[in-house]
């Protein structure tokens, strides 16, 4: 009886395993070629931030989201966003000390941007070209631009880039 059930179980396994190739197990990709903004690019309040990138997926792309948040506390991301401020070049190694002294009042007037974008159905490749106005009153300092991209299956890829916002000329 036990062996019977085991055989049924193993048989089902073999049957079902055959279809495993249908699964999408690959997250979408954001191409680094031609990606703007480049790391540590400088923009001025009132400028237009030009986000341009190519994304691909082996099956079908989903949607994407762009978010800009301040990096006044000098945190680091595992993707490309680097710390561009020379004064703080060594902060990454000493982060546990740095964040003790982080002054949260710095974040006053910081620019916050968060927008969802859709990609048409059925795309395996998509070129996004988004122009985001930087507000006139955006506080100066370092910001991170976060790009989140999904595919149809629900996999997500995140890319972050550091940018610098300066005041008016």
């Amino acid at each position: 009886m036990a062996t019977g059930a085991m055989i049924v179980c193993i048989f089902t396994l073999i049957l079902t395993s055959c279809n495993d190739k249908d699964k999408d197990i690959t997250p979408p990709l954001i191409s680094t070629d031609g990606f703007t903004p480049a790391n540590c690019d400088i923009y001025y309040a009132g400028d237009t931030l030009h986000v341009h990138f190519l994304c691909t997926d082996d099956r079908e792309l989903g949607n994407f989201n762009i978010e800009v948040h301040n990096n006044f506390d000098h945190h680091t991301h595992s993707t490309e966003a680097a710390d561009c401020d020379d004064e703080h070049l060594h902060q990454g190694e000493e982060l546990h000390d740095e964040h003790n002294h982080a002054d949260h009042a710095d974040a006053e007037g910081a620019w916050v941007f968060n927008q969802d974008y859709t990609i048409p159905d059925g795309c395996r490749q998509y070129t996004a070209d988004i122009r985001i106005p930087v507000p006139d009153n955006a506080a100066e300092g370092e910001y991170h631009l976060m790009l989140r991209l999904t595919d149809k299956a629900g996999w997500q890829t995140i890319k972050s880039v550091a940018i610098h916002i300066e005041g008016h000329f």
């Binding site: 699964k23 948040h69 991301h77 546990h96 999904t150």
Partner: protein, 708 residues
């Protein structure tokens, strides 16, 4: 034999089992009967009995962790050394935890809510592998953990005191138990305290939501905690009667891992690294009070049992107030509070009709009342009323074969209250208080059944069972609508969910003699409408949207256990488990289920010395053991978004214990060294796998106890 006239007598007979009789897996009929309520039948599913000695030897910081060395049981690590139990890969609300005859009701849906039960007040654990809705109702769809205290004390006064410590989070603690008996009256009291520091991991940094976060001294910031538990029991027992009033209170306060918690990944102004023992924000505090009254009358031909209980689970989660999106800076640190009251009434009756037949009937009623507070929203306020009735028949055809079958009907009514944000969100030109949860009233009906056979003779024990089980959707699944702050995703409930159902077939074949025990427990199950939180391609409020859906799921697997005793002082023990799961419909058809356990194997060599070998060493009895085991885990490539494939791993572990018995007291020393090679590995079933935090490195735990 099946229905002892006194529960007490049988419980005592279990305690009286000599250590060499209590092997890791034993199928002794007396034991099986004993730790079940006498109104409950012996399950025709695979069940494992664990006694206080086993629990002690595990030396685990949590109850669920002490079970993970059992094939078919997993401990899903949820951070800070906390873990949740799972049976055959199903945990959270797919596992019923029956504590002292009453379903334990906390906020078990939560990703970082541990089990609010003092492990030192638990003397027997029965693990029922497989759906057991007939006797235990909703949630028993994956299995049941029956936790029970030992029977009435047999002496005027007795007790136990223990001290314990472990290195991985510098934990230390103490637990004391006193108990006594005067004629037919008895009392018991338990108290436990433990304190632990930040949890250490073998890595210098980790990646969370694309952020690279360095760790100070390889510890997880702010994961220290404290726990205090107390329990009191007053009882009366005579030939046929047993009545008992019990009160359990647990209190725990612990920090949330500061770098992987909150509405945003941010660097706090709190100096987390100044002390490894302090509890800063964000943190959680939980009180769980359980008052229960148990009464049973048991006779050769009939018996009744009544359990009534009230539980209050109060959970407070505090975090630094931070403005997020359109939410302004909140006025205080109370991010979330849940206050849940649960009243339970269970009644069961048994009649022995002729020598061969036993009929059982029962009624289980429960009322839940949940209120939330704080500036963060995850689940709405709700009330739930549920009631189940069942009838089952057991037919002992002869001394070898027992058949049983039963039917059950359940009704549940859930009422969810509307919730709107406390702050306004601009929509076009106006500002609106966004509604997160709408008023909802749902009725759920479930009809379930089960049938099984049990064959026992000549060293064989064969059990087969088929049955249908169900689970009522919980408030989070019906009405959640917000950001899950643990994992940075937007979770949306589904108010149209139907009760989750499952059809399952279980088989257990075991054979043993004096020197060998061999067992195989295969199972297969089908869920027509498994409630699954599916990651979508969409974004909502800037985060990826996860939506509750119902899909068809097929699961199967098996556990295998082998114990060989080639010499009276040596046990060779090998356990293995394998689980396969697959979604058959919906947008994730073809995928498995999240946190699917990879195949596991655990070979162990255990050398034990019994009184006979060392009788003259001391003026009394002494026995002890030394063991070495390897935990082997296969790789897991059956993943669903957002999981990553996990490589296989193995760890080497050692354990030893010595018991010295004097006239009326026993001194026991137990020590365990886990992962002695300090292997850095990732556990696919751990919550920390998602954020690439490896499991703990080497850890030594020790306990000294005195029983008198």
């Amino acid at each position: 034999m099946y229905f002892p006239t006194s529960l007490c007598a049988v419980l005592l007979s279990v305690i009286a089992l000599t250590p060499q009789d209590t092997m890791l897996l034993h199928l002794d009929e007396v034991t099986v009967t004993a730790s079940h309520s006498h109104a409950a039948p012996i399950p025709s599913q695979s069940s494992i009995e664990l006694n206080a000695k086993f629990i002690t030897e595990q030396l685990s910081a949590t109850l669920s962790e002490s079970l993970h060395s059992i094939a078919g049981v997993q401990a899903t690590a949820i951070g800070s050394g906390q873990s949740k139990p799972a049976i055959r890969g199903l945990g959270f609300n797919r596992l019923a935890i029956i504590h002292d005859g009453i379903r334990h009701e906390g906020q078990q849906w939560g990703d970082d809510h541990g089990l609010e039960i003092d492990r030192f007040a638990v003397d027997h654990i029965t693990v029922i592998k497989g759906a057991s809705a007939l006797m235990y109702g909703s949630d028993a769809i994956g299995g049941v953990l029956l936790l029970s205290p030992d029977g009435p004390p047999d002496r005027n006064i007795g007790g136990k005191a223990c001290l314990f410590a472990q290195t991985v989070n510098a934990l230390y603690g103490a637990s004391v138990r006193l108990k006594g008996r005067t004629g037919k009256f008895y009392w018991k009291a338990n108290a436990t305290w433990q304190d632990y520091a930040d949890y250490s991991v073998p890595t210098d940094s980790f990646e969370y939501y694309s952020y690279r976060i360095p760790l100070y001294k390889r510890t997880l910031r702010n994961t220290a905690g404290r726990e205090a538990d107390g329990a009191l029991a007053l009882g009366y027992t005579s030939g046929h009667w047993h009545t008992c009033l019990r009160v359990y209170e647990t209190w725990a306060k612990s920090g949330f891992f500061a770098n992987a918690h909150g509405l945003e990944v941010r660097l706090s102004g709190i100096d987390y690294d100044r002390s490894s023992r302090d509890i800063d924000l964000p943190m959680q505090q939980v009180n769980h009070l359980k008052v229960l009254w148990h009464t049973a009358y048991s006779h050769d031909y009939w018996g009744i049992e009544l359990n009534a209980a009230w539980q209050h689970n109060l959970r407070r989660e505090e975090a630094e107030p931070v403005a997020h999106g359109y939410m302004p800076t909140p006025p205080n640190t109370l991010e979330r509070q849940f206050s849940k009251h649960t009243a339970t009434l269970n009644a069961a009756a048994r009649w022995n009709i002729a020598a061969q037949h036993t009929v059982r009937m029962g009624l289980q009623a429960e009322m839940q009342h949940n209120r939330r507070n704080g500036w963060g929203f995850i689940i709405p306020d709700f009330e739930q009323y549920s009631m189940g009735v069942y009838a089952s028949e057991e037919w002992r055809i002869n001394s070898r074969i027992t058949l049983h079958a039963g039917v059950r009907y359940d009704y549940a009514h859930t009422h969810i209250q509307a919730y709107s944000d406390w702050f306004a969100t601009p929509v076009g030109d106006t500002a609106v208080y966004m509604q997160r949860s709408a008023t909802l009233s749902r009725d759920f009906h479930s009809f379930t059944w089960s049938a099984g056979i049990r064959y026992r003779a000549d060293g064989w024990l064969v059990r087969a069972n088929i049955g249908k089980a169900f689970r009522t959707p919980i408030a989070k699944e019906l009405g959640a609508d917000g950001i899950n702050y643990h994992i940075f995703r937007y979770e949306a409930g589904n108010s149209t969910l139907k009760p989750e159902q499952s059809y399952q077939a279980d088989l257990s074949v075991a054979w043993d003699n004096k020197w060998i025990h061999i067992q195989a427990d295969p199972f297969a199950g089908y869920f027509p409408n498994y409630i699954y939180l599916s990651p979508t391609a969409r974004y909502r409020e800037g985060l990826q949207l996860y939506q509750y859906t119902q899909t068809q799921v097929f699961r199967c697997g098996a556990e295998a256990m082998l114990t060989v005793r080639p010499w009276q002082h040596l046990d060779i023990n090998v356990q293995a488990e394998y689980i396969y799961s697959r979604q058959l419909s919906g947008d994730k058809a073809g995928y498995g289920l999240p946190f699917s356990p990879p195949c596991r194997m655990m070979p162990e060599l255990k050398f034990h010395w019994a009184p006979a070998a060392f009788t003259d060493m001391l003026n009394g009895r002494c026995d002890g053991y030394a063991s070495i085991n390897v935990r082997i885990s296969g790789a897991q490539h059956a993943i669903v978004p957002p999981e990553k494939p996990t490589n296989g791993w193995w760890t080497l572990n050692l354990g030893a214990g010595q018991r010295l018995a004097f006239n009326t007291c026993t001194l026991a020393l137990t020590i365990k060294a886990e992962n002695i090679l300090n292997t850095k590995y990732y556990d696919h079933t751990s919550y920390y796998r998602l954020i690439n935090i490896p499991e703990r490195g080497w850890n030594i735990s020790a306990m000294v106890s005195v029983e008198f």
